[in-house]
């Protein structure tokens, strides 16, 4: 049996679908990339840009080949480009850096006119463009377009630049106050920022570990706010904060040892007390107990031997055994025993 099914599509409806198909095909063919439009002086800098994936925020100032994932030469248009199609699906922090001619590719310069890198957030298939504000040269006053979290990053970087400028221009008297004020601004920014990773990036730039001692409630609230965040960045942050909250292992071990000693002492004491409370006569044999009662009555060995119908030497042996078991030395001591 043959069943033929005919799709009920008219020529008109096919014509209507064509624009949608074209749009979806062109979207799938469009390249997702990070485009960096920064003018580099090629007499100083090698015409290559490197892209590193920063696995957690503790590595912000670390340079390693292990982090470099891509490099780009300069295009005819004077641009550096990195495809984002192979990047991890989830959002990560990346660093783009340039190396001076003669320096190794893995080269990091922090501060000064030769500051050679910048950070950006990206995820798979992001389209990001980075340019320098007109009038500025090299990595100075960057403009990010195409991926919203980088706008927040830009805001944080502006505040961090203000921090650097205090060191360079501020006077010693008001420097500390000014730095504290900017730290507070950055913290407020982190608290109100709607993008989780830029928010956390801000905290890592104000030495949060030190600030935690002054305001642990802020950090507890912060962790609660972002409790659904499962990225490595947040896991690392959570573990460092919990490390602050948890007592150290040393304290746990010392407390455990003290508790154990107390329990052991109490046990030994109770055993000793029990032993002391025990009737000492219970350790005597029936015959010894009979002899003991006669000794209490003040009878001599001979009298006891006659009463028990045994020899005097047997009674002497019983008496010695009684002395030993009751820890006494004389008949007088036996008379003093109360039971």
């Amino acid at each position: 049996m043959n069943i033929s099914v005919r799709a009920p599509i008219s020529k008109k409806s096919i014509a209507a679908l064509v624009p949608f198909l074209l749009v979806s095909v062109s979207t799938s063919l469009a390249q997702h990339k990070i485009t960096v439009d920064i003018e580099t002086d090629t007499t100083i800098w090698a015409p290559v840009a490197y892209l590193s994936l920063i696995p957690d925020f503790n590595y912000l100032n670390t340079i390693s080949y292990n982090h470099i994932i891509e490099q780009s030469g300069i295009s005819k248009e004077g641009l550096y480009e990195f495809s984002t199609e192979y990047l991890p699906e989830e959002e990560h922090l990346y660093r783009v850096h340039f190396s001076k001619k003669g320096d190794p590719p893995a080269s990091l310069i922090l501060g000064g006119r030769d500051h050679n890198h910048f950070f950006l957030f990206a995820e798979r298939n992001s389209n990001i463009s980075v340019t320098v504000k007109s009038g500025n040269r090299f990595i100075n006053d960057l403009i990010f377009q195409g991926y919203s979290p980088n706008k927040a990053l830009q805001g944080i970087n502006t505040m961090l630049e203000a921090l650097d400028s205090i060191d360079q221009n501020g006077n010693i008297v008001n420097r500390e106050y000014a730095i504290e004020a900017i730290y507070e601004d950055i913290k407020t920014y982190a608290d109100t920022c709607s993008f989780p990773l830029p928010s956390l990036y801000a905290l890592y730039n104000i030495n949060y570990a030190k600030d935690y001692d002054n305001n642990p409630a802020f950090y507890r609230r912060y962790l609660h706010k972002w409790r659904s965040q499962k990225s490595l960045y947040f896991r690392e942050f959570r573990s460092s904060i919990r490390g602050e909250i948890k007592p150290s292992w040393l304290i746990v071990i010392i407390a455990g040892s003290v508790m154990l000693s107390i329990i052991l002492t109490m046990y030994l004491y109770s055993r000793l007390k029990k032993k002391n409370n025990k009737n000492p006569l219970s350790e005597l044999t029936i015959q010894e107990r009979k002899v003991f009662n006669l000794l209490k009555q003040g009878k001599s060995n001979k009298e006891i031997a006659e009463e028990c119908s045994v020899s005097v030497s047997t009674i002497k042996s019983h008496v010695n055994s009684i002395y030993s078991k009751l820890d006494v030395r004389s008949r007088r001591d036996i008379l003093d025993i109360e039971y």
């Binding site: 670390t62 340079i63 190794p104 590719p105 080269s107 990091l108 006119r113 360079q168 221009n169 420097r175």
Partner: protein, 164 residues
């Protein structure tokens, strides 16, 4: 009238030259540099830089290139706060994309400048982990009564060119 204008212009040029020339001589600078060679048995150390009120500008620069191991460098101010730090991790994965002739070599540099720096001992703390390579610690202190930023930048620039 012409002579008067001519004389006035000459006087202005002369005065400007004197001021520029004079201001160029006003500052005093102190440069110190220390080179360290580290191998995989080198222990951590702290290099002190004594900053006194005789100078009103300080710039500290630390740069190194390493082929093995890792190295943490921290700049600590006299109050004990870490002002800046960086870590170099040499070796690791050398993909075919990275130039093979510099396999594993990693370089790092940090610098920070302070106007009216805190007095006392600034420390550069070096914590190596089986690091093999060289390190250079450079400090520049300037006394300039005018603390004019443009002037300080020019002195810095001259020094930069001098130290390469």
């Amino acid at each position: 009238m012409k002579t008067l204008i001519k004389n006035a212009v000459c006087l202005i040029i002369l005065l400007t030259a004197v001021i520029v020339n004079g201001s160029g001589q006003e500052y005093v600078k102190l440069e110190r540099s220390r080179n360290l060679q580290l191998n995989n048995t080198s222990a951590g150390q702290e290099i002190s830089i004594n900053v006194t009120d005789e100078y009103n500008y300080l710039r500290i620069k630390v740069e190194g290139q390493f082929t093995m191991g890792s190295l943490l460098i921290e700049l600590i101010d006299p109050s004990g706060n870490i002002s800046r730090n960086f870590t170099i991790e040499a070796g690791g994965v050398n993909t075919s994309d990275i130039r093979a002739d510099r396999a594993g070599a990693v370089s790092g540099q940090m610098q920070k400048a302070f106007r009216n720096p805190a007095e006392g001992y600034w420390q550069v703390r070096i914590t190596p982990r089986k690091a093999t390579g060289s390190l250079r610690i450079y400090s520049l202190q300037i006394y300039n009564p005018r603390t004019d930023l443009i002037e300080l930048e020019q002195i810095e620039k001259d020094t930069d060119e001098h130290i390469g």
